[in-house]
């Protein structure tokens, strides 16, 4: 900042807007803003004029009309008589489903690969850098297509499971791997008792976290180290299994079975979902691995050495000393990886996964011809979802970042 000694008072001249450092930055900001507004206005007017010339208008009325097309993966009730709005909602849910699955899986892949990349074992280290370099250097669209194509050609069609001596058979009579997807058993809840078991399970997971928190607190306060591993395992299984048997096994499994053209029953993970999910996860996982490695390496070696000289074991050093500090470095780039996953999930249509780009921005756009409206809504959706993810992750980031005292 330049310091101006005793600026001459009173006499304001127009040239000061350019020459005087006190005003100059405002002048330029104002000009930039005016230009931006003018440009937007020009685009907007152009849009209106061209639409008028083509005899079109902007209207969102089409969202209330029946969509007329069917969607294969329907997280909510939907049929071809439902509205375009509902079709868009189905698409949004499908986007969120694949984005969520991919984010979780990518994080797991990334953390494992990132930590192992720093392993002392040469083979593991090299294997992990191989993974990172291969996967992040090939476009994700190609991964999606490769996985989908391999599934389509290498897995048997449901037809192959038919007959006396079928060419293919189910794994443990529970899982069927076909070129249309993977079928797994589906848990079926038997009335209220089933829900109680679920509730107990959720409560014990919460309990585990609470216990671990308590253990950490105690450790910091008194230096006494409570066991966490076995109690966690016990809390995870014992209450749920107990309640399950006490209530007379209220949860059963619905097994998929071949009926007619396809497997019916169970849960169907469509090939398109698997390809998209897996491709996004391994691709983004490679980036996350790099973030994790960078985060760990950002913690000075002195910390490790200091911890070691206190007699901590390597696992503890990682968990108690390194990772909590590394998280501060890892979280911000992790946010952008999650955003990338969500946005890249719009490549779904390459394999016919019906995400929001495929429903609202694909079939609806095409059948109604409402290109501008559909694209605007899509932009709005991706913007909202990205900002939400950012906001949530920033809250988390604030909770782990260095507290200034």
């Amino acid at each position: 900042m330049t310091t101006v000694t005793d600026p001459p008072q009173g006499s304001f001249r127009l040239s000061m807007l350019i020459n005087d450092t006190r005003y100059r930055s405002y002048t330029f900001q104002f000009i930039a803003l005016a230009l931006l507004i003018a440009f937007m206005a020009y685009l907007g007017m152009n849009l209106v004029r061209n639409l008028a010339a083509a005899g079109l208008n902007i209207s969102f009325g089409f969202l209330g009309e029946p969509a007329g097309y069917d969607i294969n993966q329907r997280p909510i009730e939907y049929d071809s008589q439902s509205t375009h709005f509902r079709a868009a909602a189905v698409g949004i849910l499908n986007t969120l489903i694949v984005a969520f699955l991919a984010c979780v899986t990518a994080t797991i892949f990334g953390v494992i690969a990132g930590v192992l990349r720093l392993s002392n074992n040469w083979v593991i280290r090299k294997l992990m850098s191989f993974y990172v370099e291969i996967f992040r250097n090939i476009p994700v669209l190609i991964w999606i297509i490769i996985i989908f194509s391999i599934m389509t050609v290498s897995m048997p069609a449901p037809r192959a499971f038919r007959g006396e001596n079928p060419d293919s058979s189910m794994l443990f009579d529970m899982f069927a791997f076909t070129n249309r997807g993977v079928y797994t058993p589906k848990p079926v809840l038997d009335g209220a008792a089933g829900w109680i078991v679920i509730a107990v399970f959720i409560a014990s997971v919460i309990g585990i976290f609470a216990y671990r928190r308590y253990a950490t607190k105690k450790l910091y306060a008194t230096g006494q180290l409570l066991p966490t591993f076995w109690p966690s395992i016990a809390m995870f299984f014992v209450p749920t299994i107990l309640v399950y048997f006490i209530l007379g096994r209220p949860i059963t499994l619905d097994y998929p079975s071949l009926q007619g053209f396809n497997f019916q029953g169970g849960i169907q993970l469509r090939g398109s979902l698997i390809a998209l999910w897996f491709a996004l996860a391994i691709y983004t996982g490679a980036f996350i691995a790099e973030n994790v490695r960078a985060g760990i390496q950002a913690i000075s070696k002195g910390q490790t050495e200091a911890a070691a000289s206190l007699g901590l074991r390597p696992g503890r050093i990682m968990n108690l000393v390194i990772l909590p500090q590394a998280l501060r470095v890892i979280i911000p780039p992790l946010i952008s990886q999650y955003l990338n996953i969500t946005k890249n999930s719009s490549l779904a249509i390459a394999v016919g996964y019906m995400d929001v780009t495929a429903t609202l921005g694909g079939i609806t756009l095409n059948q109604t011809g409402r290109a501008i409206e559909a694209i605007l809504l899509l932009m709005l959706f991706y913007l909202t979802i990205s900002l939400l993810i950012s906001a949530v992750m920033n809250v988390y980031n604030n909770s782990v970042k260095l507290k200034e005292r």
Binding site: L43, N46, L47, V153, Q259, G260, I349, V351, G369, I375
Partner: protein, 392 residues
């Protein structure tokens, strides 16, 4: 390993071979696709660069309408085409018999014939066409945004496309209906037996709407697999990822003809919709619409009047005894001038690939592998629906 799209379809064997290549060295396998003589390499799989480009087209099309290209919806398409010296004609991404590039990358087919006839009528040169491959999804944005001057891509004339999407269908060059194809060993003999089947459909088509209606009306369920292009649908169908492929019956015949063993697949007897297919242009430029409409009519009328590519030079040399032939070929009257074209516009259009009947026989007729009978597409004089308004 190079597979020419559609002309030699991707069989499961070829596909496995390419996977072998995949394991070998290059992580990308390339189909070789030709677009007007230019070779386009594309990676293996379901969506190709080309199609991604087309998806972008849809998006940029929207942007273009949104005003980045200011003069798209302008009126004088004829002037634009003349100035450019080529006609931009939207076709399929490859459907043998209707529009597909041959081994040398030269586009050929029944729909291509319409494009060439228009180019011949307007520019005097049937080769002056830039073929723009479009998918079911990208075709309308391509037309609305002015990327193409006309669309000849077995597109069904429907109320909403005409009225709401603001296009102008200039006529019908193929009367069709939607059918179903299944592998013979599936043992299905009627579409009503398809309860629970997995069905491959091209998105952005009337097909997916008809399909939903048909299964709903018959109270049976199905699992749709949405697909962008005919080539991908074929690949999925042959790999058994879907039980049924449904599209226009003509498209099914063309697709089946390109299979290694066409006999292993049957077309079910049900035709579940009316699909009048025809060329279309943008609303608002009636002069251009007239040119495309009457070029198509000229092809149809030529067959009715007995004008063929073999005798056209002779008939056009001097006025004949039939005044309508004379008006059509420009040896009498001012029809060409009324359209803003040369007097020999229709002669050029017919000479480009022959009259309607010749185009039909050469590309999709009974002596081709596709083997479609004229059926509804015969002249009205032969009991069909083709009926060109008079040239006067």
């Amino acid at each position: 390993m190079a597979v020419v799209l559609c002309a030699a379809p991707l069989t499961p064997e070829a596909f496995k071979q390419s996977l072998g290549a995949l394991r070998g060295r290059d992580p990308l396998i390339h189909y070789t696709v030709y677009r007007d003589g230019k070779k386009i390499d594309r990676p293996l799989g379901v969506t190709t660069q080309e199609e991604v480009k087309m998806k972008k087209t849809a998006f940029y099309g929207a942007l273009a309408v949104a005003g980045l290209a200011a003069s798209t919806a302008s009126a004088a398409t004829l002037d634009d085409v003349r100035e450019r010296g080529v006609l931009n004609c939207g076709v399929t991404t490859g459907l043998v018999g209707f529009a597909s590039p041959d081994a040398n990358g030269v586009w050929d087919g029944f729909d291509v014939g319409v494009c060439r006839a228009v180019a011949a009528a307007v520019l005097g040169d049937p080769e002056a066409v830039e073929f723009v491959p479009t998918t079911g999804k990208t075709r309308f944005t391509a037309l609305a945004s002015g990327e193409i001057d006309m669309l000849a891509r077995n597109t069904t004339w429907t109320f909403s496309r005409d009225v709401d999407l603001k296009f102008e269908f200039v006529g019908i060059n193929y009367y069709d209906g939607q059918g179903f194809m299944v592998p013979r060993d599936l043992g299905v003999s009627s579409a009503k037996d398809l309860d629970g089947a997995t069905v491959c459909i091209q998105t952005g088509t009337t097909t997916e709407l008809n399909l939903a209606d048909y299964f709903r009306a018959n109270n049976i369920s199905y699992e749709p697999v949405p697909i962008e292009t005919n080539a991908e649908a074929q690949q999925q169908y042959l790999a058994g990822a879907c039980d049924v492929y449904t599209t226009d019956a003509s498209g099914l015949a063309a697709t089946r003809a390109s299979f290694e063993n066409p006999g292993d697949h049957v077309l079910l007897p049900e035709i579940v919709s009316k699909e009048p297919l025809g060329p279309l242009v943008r609303h608002g430029d009636n002069d251009w619409g007239d040119i495309v409409r009457w070029t198509l009519n000229a092809l149809i009328a030529a067959e009715e009047l007995g004008v063929t590519s073999a005798n056209i030079e002779e008939l056009a040399a001097a006025p004949t005894g039939n005044p309508e032939v004379n008006r059509l070929l420009g040896t009498e009257g001012e029809l060409g001038a009324m359209l803003g074209l040369e007097a020999d516009w229709a002669k050029n259009a017919i000479a480009a690939g022959g009259n309607y009947g010749e185009l039909f026989e050469k590309n999709i007729g009974e002596n081709t592998p596709i083997g479609l009978a004229r059926g509804l597409n015969a002249q009205w004089t032969d009991g069909g629906l083709l009926y060109s308004p008079p040239f006067r």
